[in-house]
């Protein structure tokens, strides 16, 4: 049998799909199904453990048996396709949002999405954040075209359920989150070695999303004009940028060189 055929058969065995693997194993020692079973068992157990490590809060919320059922269902739909098991669980939020038996509990998908974002922020590229002093040294003329470059770790997760507190809750304090009166946006980022996250105010969420998409300071102020006067809009936009600088969300302040008046 060619190498590729053997590997196809063995993979089918591990994935519990039809195969002829029992005929291909040499006789001797422990029974062939026991020996092959070591690999099939290890595959499921290893990836279930990866999921449990990646989503400990979800495991606490669901309980061990329910989480195991989830891991099996997920594994059946998403056999691992990446060399690094670190990324195996990346589809879990999408699975929970769409799979029958799970999508009826939308808070689970939201919690999974937020946990995954925290994990991604942990591994993201290291960049030293800009500081309020960087904004203080900007020439006045630079503000109008000011753009913000955020940390590579910044993630924005939309939630309709109050899942953010669960990410830091103790296992025994896990309880089904309440539905929020309005959807919110949670910002996740890592300014140094610890991952931070917090729920954004509604206008802050609009501005942060727009700024992340490249809007200039002037555009950000415009976005606030529908609910505030010009002076208040500018003050709020400046205040938010200062807050983001203080909390280490911003990597760099970009602006065009001021025009010469000479």
């Amino acid at each position: 049998m060619r190498l590729a055929d053997l590997q196809r058969q063995f993979t089918a065995y591990v994935l519990r799909r039809p195969n002829r693997m029992l005929d291909l194993v040499a006789e001797g020692g422990a029974p062939a199904d026991l020996r092959l079973g070591v690999y099939a068992h290890a595959y499921g157990a290893r990836l279930a453990e990866v999921l449990a490590n990646d989503y400990p809060q979800l495991r606490s919320l669901l309980g061990e048996a329910e989480f195991e059922r989830l891991a099996l269902a997920y594994l059946a739909q998403h056999p691992s396709d990446c060399f690094n098991a670190r990324w195996f669980g990346r589809h879990l939020a999408g699975f929970l949002a769409s799979a029958q038996g799970w999508c009826e509990r939308p808070e689970l998908a939201e919690l999974a999405a937020l946990i995954w974002a925290v994990g991604e922020a942990f591994d993201a590229a290291d960049v030293v954040p800009a500081t309020p002093a960087d904004a203080g040294s900007l020439p006045q003329a630079a503000w109008l075209n000011l753009r913000l470059e955020f940390l590579p770790s910044l993630r924005l997760v939309a939630t309709r359920w109050d899942v953010a507190p669960l990410v830091r809750a103790a296992a025994e304090a896990m309880a089904r989150p309440r539905r929020l009166p309005e959807p919110v946006l949670v910002a996740v980022w890592r300014p140094h070695w610890e991952v931070e996250f917090r729920v954004l105010d509604p206008d802050e969420a609009v501005l942060l999303r727009a700024a992340g998409e490249g809007a200039e300071f002037g555009d950000l102020c415009q976005l606030l004009l529908s609910s505030a006067g010009e002076t208040a809009a500018i003050a709020r936009a400046v205040g938010l940028i200062r807050l983001w600088l203080e909390q280490g969300l911003i990597a760099r302040l970009e602006h065009a060189a001021p025009l010469s008046t000479g």
């Binding site: 053997l6 194993v25 098991a85 195996f88 993201a124």
Partner: protein
């Protein structure tokens, strides 16, 4: 005649995140660390930062589990890029992976699947090793894996298979002493035949680890102390091959660092005794 292998590094441990703080605080007396390459194939974050701090004080080697050198799927270019990128940062003394395959048809089994010991597999693996070596600009070390099945189609014993791949690919060998013990039990061969059958000139590193014995078979779990018969086999290996760079792999049920340092002292003692016997 120049040696194929690098000068021995002495006695090391696998670097695990549980021990970062203790290592950075105490700078323990050991000669080198082996890192799991895949754990650091990330953009940044605390593990990579800790790794670089520790790297400043200790020689390191990179050990991978995902190269899948024996797969029939194409080599994963993305993986090779990540491996090369990490190697450029870490500047390891050497890079190793396993003589195995880890998936088929795009599915990754995250396990070290045994290869059939056939001429076809020798040619297939050797050709891929040469391509990887060209990419990395250095010789690769291939490790013998623990296995729980043998194939009816095998054409040669495992040690001959390992030796043939190493010779045809012109690569080096990471000999896992515990894996020899485990596979010898599971497949009922004499572990000393294995030691006598591998090409000595290509052995650059030894692995030692613990396992779990289920009576009908042994599983290579890396979650226990090294057992006495594996120490004895290690002594036989040192007597045959000399003071090869040796480290302990511990991947689960990880004890405090000091316990591993104590176990490493025992390794040193066994090696010293074997070297004396070798000289006598």
């Amino acid at each position: 005649m120049t040696s194929l292998t690098a000068a021995p590094l002495g006695f090391g441990l696998g670097l695990r995140s549980d021990h970062y703080a203790a290592i950075l605080e105490r700078r323990p007396r050991l000669d080198w660390f082996e890192i799991l390459s895949e754990n650091y194939m990330v953009g940044g974050g605390p593990p990579l930062a800790n790794l670089l701090c520790i790297r400043a004080d200790y020689p390191m080697v990179m050990h991978g589990v995902s190269l899948s050198i024996g797969a029939s799927d194409p080599l994963d270019e993305n993986y090779l890029n990540e491996l090369k990128k990490l190697s450029d940062i870490i500047e390891p003394k050497w890079i190793s992976d396993h003589l195995c395959w880890t998936g088929y048809g795009g599915v990754n089994l995250h396990d070290l699947m045994p290869l059939p010991a056939t001429e076809e597999a020798v040619r297939h693996v050797a050709e891929r090793v040469r391509r990887v070596q060209d990419r990395l600009g250095r010789r690769l070390l291939l490790e013998n894996v623990s296995s729980y099945v043998a194939y009816a189609q095998a054409e040669m014993p495992e040690w001959q298979f390992l030796g043939a791949v190493a010779e045809q690919a012109d690569c080096l060998i990471l000999l896992d002493i515990n894996n020899i013990y485990v596979s010898a039990f599971n497949h009922d061969f004499n572990a000393l035949d294995y030691l006598d059958g591998v090409p000595a000139a290509r052995i650059q590193q030894f692995h030692l680890a613990g396992h779990r014995n289920y009576q009908s078979h042994i599983i290579d779990t890396h979650d226990q102390l090294i057992i006495d018969p594996v120490f004895e086999l290690y002594g036989e290996a040192v007597r045959r091959f000399g003071p090869i760079s040796t480290m302990i792999e511990r991947d689960d049920n990880i004890p405090p660092l000091q316990e591993l340092l104590d176990e490493l002292d025992r390794v040193r003692g066994v090696a010293a005794s074997a070297v004396r016997n070798r000289a006598a």
